[in-house]
Homo-oligomer: 413 residues x 2
């Protein structure tokens, strides 16, 4: 345990929103507000951009009861960014500015909540502060629905998205099978490089009814095989439900969604998704069946009304553990999760990983968890994901609608 | 009260699924199973088609506890159809067949659950049976997320869809405002001719955060005015959330979604929706902003995990009241809802309407509930819809996923 370091802290949120990133925020903020060594708790508006812009919210000014609503408030309540910080050896402008702000507010603790890029940002800030001899403890708090962070069993945010996807696929499956005529439904699920989310649709199939076929970006997509798979199920059952990851790609690396321009006659709105609609068109031509394309869109990442209580608790815990360890003298680490199975019962252990070891690596679905036909998941995947989605939070409601945190966001001068 | 009529009953589900149509099914089936006069309870597979095909499930064979799961099972558990029955004066083939089946199973009660077309079917069957002197009591149970049935304050299924839409819009609103760069989000909501569902997005704005602009099919859509509305909000706030009904149309009656062919270069998948994506493209060209299109798709109608308890209870009640009244001698009616406000507290009264008065009329959002700018709703609409979405059901779960009814569906011989 190192010497006691007294000063303010900054907490920031980065990358795409999740259903539970604000639970981590609450874990950091609550623990920091209670920590003796931490004199003031600032929340950066829009992540590192808020630090660079000197736009910090004073969390000490917030009503503690209102802060507790963060546990069930989706998206990043302090605002997020996708700002890519330069390498300090190439351009240290941003770092000088960050140091200036840190000095202005006597910031000695920096907590950053995000995915791969954010851990990279954390790592660079940590190294820079060390290089200039400014004592500041930097801790990363993981977050990503994509579940692709290296070194951790899973990532906060993933399980709630998985639960949203599985539940929605069960509902879609019920709906899509209601008529006695043929119907093929294609559901597009987020995940550009890792297929964890699309894979989670397998929960619906395992515990009710869900997709007959699931395609992940971990393996090459073959359009002919796909059409053949769909046709086989269609001929047998008259109904097909397909889940595809937005990141499915051909063997040459081209995303299937990018190839849509030629297939759909100039409809090339890459940012609007459209993979489901494009595949629907191709399947329709191939089978003559009625085909529907559904994009789960950003609801899958911000669906806090379907959040997993396990996920909420772990997200809170990750924030709490980051602060507790920083106060104890730890720096340059990301909080990670280790799975412990005791008598078949799942529990989550918090561990610390060097930031440098997690930044910029991507964890994918193990190939041995994908079935031989490459159109479904094995039981090992179900065993992996099932404990993570357990538990129903008591959702605060007003007028039977979600009641989210209403923060004052008093800006520090 | 007429003479006691003893015999079997058939119950059928028709039209698009809802989150609570199976609650009505449970209301009918449970009450019918308990009714002394009703000797056997049959569920028609895929609505009237199941009657024509002699495919009837014996509800008496089902486990009563399993039937209770119908309260929280989305979609039409017995299967649905969109079969349009002929006018008996033009072609009575179907009616002769229905009579044959009714005689085969001694069916003296027919309960049909659906929207406008189904009430028409009900009405025609009722009149035919009367004309041939076959005593059979026919009752309609309303259902439609579109909320467009004539003569009833609201329709079972609407409120749960409204709650799904409002909750989802609150989540989308949180997500869409997370970055500090400009962003316009367009959400497409079901409703071809009546705008009740798109209007419900106004609940999100009233009780949290939701759409800035809402466009309904009750008024003509003007693309220039729409673009101007969006631009005005965008220039002021940098973020815009828009909700549009899929049924918005120009003053000449053309659906905006149908006009998309020319606007998007041949991408004409009418059945895939695509209005949101098309408007997103146009808005992007007009504003230069980042624009996202989201289609709530069929999840809005089958999202039973967000069902309104009020809706579930009323849907069950509608089924129950239909059976109770039929047993008492009533025929040729649809169960309807009358709103009663006692000391500012909402309650729902069941009334009976002649089938002939509801069939084939459409109830739209009153024009005086649409704001002067025709891009939002007034407080009167909020007061109308708010009581309907109240109450959270206790959802049966297994492994933290929905537990739906698992019926045996034993086919009558």
């Amino acid at each position: 345990m190192s010497e006691k370091l007294v000063g303010a802290c900054i907490f920031g949120q980065s990358g795409g929103p999740t259903a539970v990133i604000n639970a981590s925020a609450y874990g950091v903020i609550k623990t920091a507000l209670e920590a003796e060594a931490i004199t003031k708790v600032y929340g950066a508006a829009h992540g590192i951009k808020g630090v660079l812009d000197d736009k910090l919210y004073i969390m000490d000014e917030e009503d503690p009861e209102e802060l507790a609503y963060l546990l069930h408030t989706p998206s990043s309540e302090l605002g997020s960014c996708r700002y890519k910080i330069a390498d300090p050896d190439v351009d240290d402008t941003d770092y000088k500015r960050i140091l200036e702000i840190f000095k202005k507010y006597n910031v000695r603790y920096f907590f950053y909540n995000g995915g791969n890029d954010s851990m990279d940002t954390c790592n660079k800030i940590s190294r820079y502060m060390e290089s200039v001899g400014y004592e500041c403890r930097v801790m990363g708090v993981p977050k990503t629905i994509d579940n692709d962070l290296f070194g951790t069993d899973h990532c906060p945010g993933f399980a709630s998205a998985a639960k949203y996807i599985a539940t929605s696929c069960m509902e879609i499956s019920k709906d899509a099978r209601v008529y006695d005529n043929g119907m093929i439904t294609i559901v597009e699920i987020m995940g550009r490089h890792a297929g964890w989310l699309a894979a989670s649709a397998a929960l619906a199939t395992a515990y009710g009814s869900g997709p007959d076929l699931i395609y992940l970006p971990e393996v090459d997509f073959d359009m002919d095989k796909f059409l053949n798979d769909v046709k086989t199920v269609y001929d047998r059952e008259g109904k097909v439900l397909v889940a595809v990851s937005e990141g499915i790609h051909y063997s040459d690396g081209r995303f299937v969604s990018e190839a849509k321009t030629s297939a759909t006659d100039g409809f090339g709105h890459a940012q609007l998704g459209g993979l489901a609609a494009m595949l629907a068109e191709i399947v329709k031509e191939h089978t003559g069946a009625k085909v529907r394309g559904i994009e789960l869109s950003l609801l899958q990442r911000c669906g806090s009304h379907l959040a997993s209580l396990t996920d909420i608790n772990e997200a809170f815990g990750a924030g709490q553990v980051a602060v507790e360890n920083a106060v104890e003298g730890i720096t340059g680490k990301m909080v990670a999760f280790e799975r412990e199975m005791v008598d078949g019962k799942y529990s989550c252990k918090y561990v610390l990983l060097p930031l440098s070891s997690v930044a910029n690596f991507e964890k994918k679905v193990p190939l041995e968890w994908i079935n031989a036909e490459q159109n479904g998941l094995t039981d090992e995947f179900i065993e992996y994901v099932l404990p993570l989605i357990q538990g129903e939070p008591e959702l605060p409601k007003e007028n039977s609608l979600p009641r989210y945190a209403r923060l004052k966001k008093v800006i520090a001068k």
